[in-house]
């Protein structure tokens, strides 16, 4: 059980940073690759994660279960996938309305990334809740969880920037991330049935 939750947190961390890195590529054709484009993306991701942590922590108060944890992953996948089809239209819309590429990129990354990133931000606090058995061990569990999920983030960054962009189109990578999140959701759902039966 614990291994599964660590695996889920790992994939969550991987997906967050992979998406953040792709963000720069998504925005470049419309807003350039100036430093403020990265500023916008990082701002949006940090803000979304902070909200996600808050909401995830809140959610963990009400009947925390693997089944509900699975829903977070499925929701993240469902909110991520539309980017494949709508990122262009959203950027055109923003590009036509906001002249200044600083605010253009900020608003566009907000539209594109806030929802999936908030949801992915819920994963960590929820994992802690599922893993912690006693007060004494809570710090250690949380520490190990941060370790695993941040390791996932590091790998997501590396894999995406070194290899994935060389092998695949951006939309293919987004699809793969969606499938990974869905697979994790499915895995959690199956495990939750086993636990109950």
């Amino acid at each position: 059980m614990a291994y599964l939750i660590y695996l889920l947190a790992f994939v969550g961390g991987f997906s967050i940073m992979s998406l953040e890195l792709l963000g720069g590529r998504v925005l470049a054709p419309y807003f350039g690759s100036s430093i403020y484009v990265w500023g916008s993306i990082i701002t949006v991701f940090m803000l979304s994660l902070s909200i996600g942590y808050l909401v995830g922590g809140r959610l963990s108060l009400h009947h925390p279960s693997l089944g509900r944890f699975a829903i977070i992953f499925v929701a993240a996948a469902v909110c991520l996938y539309p980017l494949v089809y709508f990122n262009e239209a959203i950027m055109v819309w923003v590009f036509e309305r906001i002249e200044d590429p600083r605010y253009g990129s900020l608003v566009a990354s907000g539209f594109l990334f806030i929802v999936p990133t908030v949801i992915m931000g819920m994963i960590s606090p929820y994992s802690v809740r599922l893993l912690v058995q006693t007060t004494e061990s809570s710090g250690q569990v949380a520490g190990f969880l941060y370790f695993v999920s941040t390791l996932g983030s590091a790998l997501g960054t590396l894999a995406t920037s070194f290899y994935l962009v060389l092998w695949f189109e951006m939309n293919t990578i987004l699809t793969l991330l969606t499938l990974a999140l869905l697979a994790m959701g499915l895995l959690a759902a199956i495990a939750s049935r086993r636990v109950r039966s």
Binding site: R25, A28, P29, Y30, F31, S34, F95, E96, F162, E169
Partner: protein, 297 residues
């Protein structure tokens, strides 16, 4: 260990000139986008963008002969005038030391130029050390080239000549290499307009880039010299001129271009189609643009 390093050095777009010991650094600054270095040897001022100190000069300027174009890549860019001898509106993407816009301004005092340079610090250095001065006719826009081009397409602007000189080797702006970008640039050209691009000649990127240009423009002139890592693409959506037309225009340009150190005897033989790339290479698009990785291979 050594091989990739060697590749990295050859793969860059900038010609190397040996800088002897007495080269003096007159300006050094780390801007938002690169490290800018200006050094002086005798009357020769050179601009470099590099983190490593391996003498890769982006642009050089001889104070005794200020008009002369020191580097072959700059002279090859001027071969675009063989395709479009009378540009009235010119778009420069990437300023460097300002050699090209200054030459074009002197050659065509009636023409208007828009110069787009992402790095404000480069504009300052070009002004302080290389004599580049923005004016009524030569307007400078400190912004990303892709963003400028997209807005210009939106406004319905047209240019007779577009010069793309935005790749300095350390980091390639990948969004300025894709099919979508080239299509936007093409949309900005007048019917007899020309795009001149200073791009990569070495590494796997060469094949990918060549295929992308071919997909957007069809055949184009592909100017290469054995001595440098540069390759100049001259593309004209309205069709390439015949050898005869090229010769006639070269004849007409011989005298006006002489002060810039441009010899038609050197330039004309380079203006050829030479399709020497691997046409199976994957096209670069906004979806697939790993230019920086490809360039290091």
């Amino acid at each position: 260990m050594l091989l990739p390093l060697l590749y990295a050095q050859f793969g860059v777009l900038i010609c190397s000139v040996s800088v002897p010991v007495e080269a003096r650094i007159v300006h050094e600054e780390r801007s938002l986008y690169s490290k800018i270095l200006v050094d002086q040897r005798g009357s020769m001022l050179c601009l470099q963008f590099s983190v490593r100190r391996d003498q890769r000069n982006q642009s050089c300027f001889d104070q005794r002969k200020p008009d002369k174009m020191v580097f072959i890549y700059a002279r090859m860019m001027m071969a675009s005038l063989l395709l479009q001898p009378h540009p009235k509106r010119i778009l420069m993407i990437g300023l460097g030391g300002g050699t090209l816009p200054m030459a074009l301004d002197r050659l065509f005092p009636e023409a208007n130029q828009d110069v787009v340079e992402i790095d404000q610090a480069v504009v300052r250095v070009a002004r302080d050390y290389f004599g580049f001065a923005p004016s009524e006719r030569v307007k400078v826009f400190a912004q990303d080239g892709r963003v400028f081009v997209k807005r210009a397409v939106q406004r319905g602007e047209k240019y007779d000549l577009i010069m793309l000189d935005a790749f300095n080797g350390d980091y390639i702006p990948e969004h300025l290499m894709t099919r979508e970008f080239l299509e936007e640039a093409k949309a900005l050209l007048t019917p007899d307009g020309v795009l001149a691009a200073n791009t990569f000649a070495i590494s796997r990127l060469y094949d990918h880039e060549s295929v992308t240009y071919a997909n957007v423009f069809g055949t184009y002139f592909n100017l290469r010299t054995p001595s440098t890592g540069n390759r100049i693409v001259l593309a004209a959506p309205g069709g390439l001129p015949t050898a005869e037309t090229l010769r006639a225009r070269a004849e007409a340009l011989r005298a006006p271009l002489k002060p810039y150190g441009i010899s038609m005897r050197e330039l004309l033989p380079l203006v050829r189609e030479r399709e020497d790339w691997d046409s199976d290479a994957r096209e670069l698009t906004d979806q697939y643009a790993p230019a920086n990785i490809l360039q290091s291979r």
